[in-house]
Amino acid sequence: MSQYYPALLIAIPLLAALFISASGWLRPALCFPLALTALGGSLLVSLGLLSNVIRGIPDVYLFGGWPPPWGIYYRVDHLSALVLAVVSIVGFVNLIAARPAVEKEFPEKAAPFYTLYVLFVTGLLGMVITGDAFNLYVLLEIAAITGYALIALGKGRAPLSSLHYIFMGTIGACFYLLGVGYLYIITGSLNMEDIARLLPPLYESKVVTVAFVILMVGIWLKMGFFPLHAWLPNAYTHAPSPVSSLVAPLMTKVMVYVMIRMVLTVFTVDYAFLVLKLNDAVVWLAVIAIVAGSLLALAEKDVKRMLTFIVVAEVGYMVGGFWLGNRAGFIGAVLHLVNDALMTLCLFLAVGNIVYAKGNSQWDSLPGLFRTMPWTMGALVVGALSIIGVPPTCGFFSKWYLLLGAIQGGHYGFLAALLFSSLVSVVLFFRIFEISYFEPFGASHGPDHGEDGPAGREAPLGMLVPLWMTALGLVLLGLYTGEIVDRVIRHAVPGMML
């Protein structure tokens, strides 16, 4: 059975998306249960893959039975198994939380919404598991198209932000495709490991250099790495809340994974770090990303918009950590990828609850929230502590590894940026806590309304349960950091970085 896992991982949600679309016309009540079953199924499969990898069972799957490089194959290793698990957990948990919001905001469009939701997760899972550079592009297209549509579903300026995202995202995807095309013309292969085998004699070629640079720029555009982040805040702010809590944790993280995969498997670490010697420059770019993201977040007066800038800063953490080029930095980057996906999910879910109850997440609607929505705000606190990096939440441990990597690599600029951004996060979140805990909530409405407390109720149970699952997950991840690093991430560290 387990040898079919890689195919099932993709086939289950893909087929389910089609069934959801059909049942939208024939039997609308089935849409949500189908989506839940599908993502639950792929969650189980991805956990099965992870346990296989930990036990050392290789997972290579040849589609159509053709051997590489002629056919397409999927390969699971420690790194991809970990990211697969994260993607499917986030997709599944967020789906449960999405239901009340979908029923409130666009009940008549539930079927196409769930179809695209499941397809989006399918695309991301495929991007992570695939061993073929062109197949990755096709899956990137699926994730992108569904992502644009879901984001444009929001109110107000959402379609415009999504259009902006489409322009930028298309350029990013084009750059990726162009890079793959350059690689194909010089090696004649699209299979990642095959390209890696054919590249070393061609390291001097200008084509490979330009292919590498253009691939990286394309991927950075897609992940919102600082100077290329302009599409991100608007797109994630205006998207409906169940969409922002899906896209924000996953899209950027998966693109970080794609960057790592490209460097590790296609170009090899030797090429990226020893031949091109770009690492120092990229870490400095990451420093700028972290500082700029944190400062821009300070200027915002809307919790959701503030979070989007935190996402920009966190991308800097991961890119910088990876390009430090040492063991601790690599572990930190991968661990942060896992942690940040869950932290972002937790925060965006909490904001989703606030938007559900209050209609928006402006600072004006915050006062009194600790009283009316204690559970939501409690989870927000856990998520915030994790972003700041307070033990025992998981954010502390990945930041610890990143700091360690910065010290070992002697990159004190990165060290300073990490510490600075943590301090800024403290300010950011305690400002929110202060407003929602201490600021008088009745006064602004005049004396008549001040007596029976602020209006609004706690979000429904269907949204609170997934939120608290995520919040507890943050603590659990923190407590089991050692296990994750020992059993999974340690095996993914490339030889040169040991």
Binding site: Y4, S21, F134, A149, L178, Y182
Partner: protein
């Protein structure tokens, strides 16, 4: 800002062109792209898949997974347009116009009004109504069946000549779009409803992915059409041939359904009542 953009475009273009100096020469038979994977496709396609058109065998068999996801992209685009553009039907219809079939008289029904006469005698009219052009209507009426026949030919003959599911699907979709352009949207909707086009789109992809899953159920790898041997005549190699045909039909259905679906949502701004 404009100049900065121009500068960046010129710079990126210059870098890309700079790299082409290291490209293998144009049309070089010794280039890596024609030496590495291509020979096997060219030499073995016929005996491995029984398909003489190598493009088809690479597209749908050797790299069939890519094509499955490309079809899914088309489907996703259709669903995206539907999700964003389609306006749910309103309870009380807006003012609308009808023409009495027998007398040619036109009526304007007010907001929320009803017609008490039997509805079959009336024909709804576009609010921006243009008189039907007899010549265009008739020419298209005679042309459309042949266009559709050609579309089916392109799908079915993709194994032997340029063509296949994508091209044939586009031709089939265009025939219905031509019908809505030459007559009006409602005539085309009467021939092929919104639900039908959406289900065509869905089931087309389902045929593709379902064929893959069927191979999995029969104990082979996903999309390994060889698994269909017990179900289809002609031995394992012909099973691949027939599997490819099956999948091409799915692609054709998906592309046709999606084209029509997207066209209607765009042309009528999601209202499906009038437009163009």
């Amino acid at each position: 800002m404009k100049n900065l953009g121009l500068l960046i475009v010129v710079l990126v273009g210059a870098v890309l062109i700079y790299a082409t100096t290291d490209f293998p020469p144009f049309g070089d038979p010794e280039s890596p792209a024609s030496l590495h994977v291509s020979p096997r496709y060219l030499e073995n396609s016929l005996e491995e898949t029984a398909v003489p058109n190598v493009v088809t065998s690479v597209l749908v068999d050797y790299r069939g997974l890519d094509t499955m996801f490309e079809t899914t992209v088309v489907f996703a685009a259709g669903v995206a347009c539907f999700l964003l553009l389609r306006v749910p039907r309103r309870r009380t219809p807006a003012p609308r116009q009808y023409r009495h079939r027998l007398t040619g008289l036109t009526f304007r029904i007010k907001d929320g009004g009803e017609i008490s006469l039997p509805l079959q005698e009336f024909e709804p009219m576009e609010s921006i109504w243009t008189p039907h052009d007899f010549i265009i209507e008739k020419v298209c009426c005679y042309l459309i069946p042949f266009i559709q026949l050609f579309g089916l030919f392109v799908i079915a003959h993709g194994h032997h000549s340029p063509g296949g599911g994508f091209q044939g699907g586009v031709i089939l979709g265009a025939s219905i779009i031509l019908l809505s352009l030459s007559h009006d949207l409602r005539t085309a909707l009467k021939r092929m409803g919104e639900k039908t086009s959406a289900l065509f789109s869905t089931f087309g992809v389902l045929i593709y992915a379902g064929t893959g899953a069927l191979c999995l159920l029969l104990g082979y790898n996903f999309l390994d059409y060889q698994a269909l041997d017990p179900l289809l005549p002609g031995g394992p190699v012909m099973a691949r041939y027939h599997g490819i045909l099956l999948v091409e039909v799915g692609v054709g259905m998906a592309v046709m359904g999606t084209m029509i679906w997207i066209f209607r949502n765009l042309a009528s701004r999601g209202r499906h009542e009038e437009g163009l």
